[in-house]
């Protein structure tokens, strides 16, 4: 911009009236350093502005001068005593503007929007995180119950394999025990290993006993009943249960006895019996 356009741009008038922004002030100061005619025009304009200000002079209250000099004396005494604390430096620049530049206002507005957006996003993510957490917990629960089921099945399978193993043993002798006259539908099977003399019993069909009762297996050896132990029935019981061993027997039978078993069989409670 040339000197003439500076002079006619209104920037000098803005400067002397205090209206110029800090950027405009810097521009004009640079222009004054460059063009003497701009500096001269500024001087003249500033002088007239000051004349306008002087025209509006008002004599201050008469007591003010005394107050001022009394403050000045106090301060100078303090300064001489070395107790004076230097007060704020005066700002040399013309009045600061309150309004920030529009660019900064946009930045501020954008920041607020970003903050609001971020808060919303955080809320969303937090909600989703909570959902995910709950789902994860539910999955963990169902996973552990699945694991427990799997364990149950594995145990059952192992038992079944073990049972199969017992049954498949070539030295195993199968003794079928059909129901007696009072219990015609009852059925149980004894597996007797001829080599190891181990005895196993399998319940095919026996009624569920009262809680204080248990079935007891007997071996008839030389015409006399020998206790082979009590066994469980029902779904929780092993399919094939190991009993006491016996070297030889003519017959096996099952009676219903009090819980824990009896030393002698209760003959009218004999459910099944089978000869070898």
């Amino acid at each position: 911009m040339g000197a003439t356009s500076y002079i006619s741009s209104g920037i000098i008038e803005a400067y002397v009236s205090g209206l110029a922004s800090s950027q405009e002030r810097e521009e004009l100061e640079a222009a004054m350093a460059q063009y003497p005619e701009v500096a001269a025009e500024y001087q003249s304009c500033q002088h007239d502005m000051e004349q306008y200000i002087i025209y509006q002079s008002v004599t201050p209250p008469a007591t003010l001068k005394e107050k001022l000099f009394s403050q000045l004396d106090t301060e100078e005494t303090a300064r001489a005593n070395g107790t004076y604390v230097d007060e704020d430096a005066i700002p040399e620049t013309p009045v600061r503007k309150i309004l920030v530049s529009s660019a900064w206002r946009w930045v501020a507005a954008a920041s607020i929007l970003l903050l609001a957006g971020s808060a919303l996003l955080n809320y969303n993510l937090f909600t989703r995180y909570n959902d995910a957490q709950q789902k994860l917990e539910a999955l963990a629960v169902s996973n552990s119950s699945l694991a427990a089921e799997t364990n149950t099945y594995r145990t059952r399978l192992e038992q079944a394999e073990e049972n199969l193993h017992i049954v498949q043993d070539p030295s195993m002798k199968t003794v079928k025990m059909p129901g007696t006259k009072p219990f015609p539908t009852a059925l149980a099977t004894v597996y007797w290993n001829q080599t190891s003399k181990e005895v196993f019993v399998m319940v095919n069909n026996l009624p569920q006993p009262a809680p204080d009762k248990q079935y007891q297996l007997w071996a008839i050896v030389d015409g006399k009943p020998v206790d082979m132990g009590v066994f469980e029935t029902g779904t929780d019981a092993k399919i094939i249960q190991k009993m006491k061993s016996v070297n030889n027997a003519e017959m096996f039978a099952v009676t219903l006895e009090k819980k824990g078993g009896s030393p002698e069989p209760t003959l009218d409670q004999m459910y099944v019996a089978g000869k070898i």
Binding site: I53, L64, L72, D86
Partner: protein, 183 residues
């Protein structure tokens, strides 16, 4: 304490820098009406303006070493201190935009002027100047100078487009300068 003689500007500055209280007293007598006029127009309250003026002269006394003759006249420097101090006071009193506008409307000093009893002031000259300035021209100058309004604020107060604020200010000051030539 009234001084009977005058100093040149450079004598004044030298005396102040030497912390000569006689020179300071002269400075007060000579310039306090102009500076008080500024404080009063900014603050529109005699008590606040008195406090402000006292603070201004203390700043002048303390900071005279910072005054740089090459950057402008002593009076310009003192006016800047006065205007800045008064406008800072105005703002610290949490004056809002509305208040500023109302102040302009209520300001008795702004239009009628509780005019100076200072010998250097030509009452007739002032009233001539002010009569020939339109109300809008005075307001735009006074809002900027005495109330420290920005271009944006003036645009809102006077309900004129932001882009025309500087042009109107230029026209107002050109008119003011032309009138001053006639005084």
């Amino acid at each position: 304490m009234e001084s009977a003689f005058t100093y040149t500007e450079s004598e004044l500055i030298q005396g102040l820098k030497a912390k000569d209280q006689k020179v300071f007293s002269y400075l007060y007598d000579r310039y306090s009406p102009a500076l008080y006029g500024v404080a009063l127009k900014v603050l529109n309250d005699e008590s606040n303006a008195s406090d402000c003026l006292q603070e201004v002269f203390m700043k002048i006394w303390r900071n005279i070493d910072r005054y740089d003759e090459s950057k402008g006249r002593l009076f310009t420097w003192m006016l800047n201190i006065t205007r800045n101090t008064a406008i800072d006071t105005l703002r610290s009193k949490a004056h809002k935009m509305d208040q500023k506008i109302q102040d302009i409307g209520d300001d008795v000093h702004l239009y009628t002027g509780n005019l100076a009893v200072h010998p250097s002031v030509d009452h007739l000259g002032l009233s001539k100047v002010l009569e020939k300035l339109t109300k809008e021209q005075r307001i735009i100058i006074d809002l900027a100078y005495y109330k420290g309004c920005t271009q944006e604020e003036i645009s809102k107060v006077l309900e004129i487009p932001l882009g025309t604020v500087k042009t109107r200010m230029r026209n107002a000051i050109i008119q003011l300068r032309n009138l001053l030539k006639l005084v």
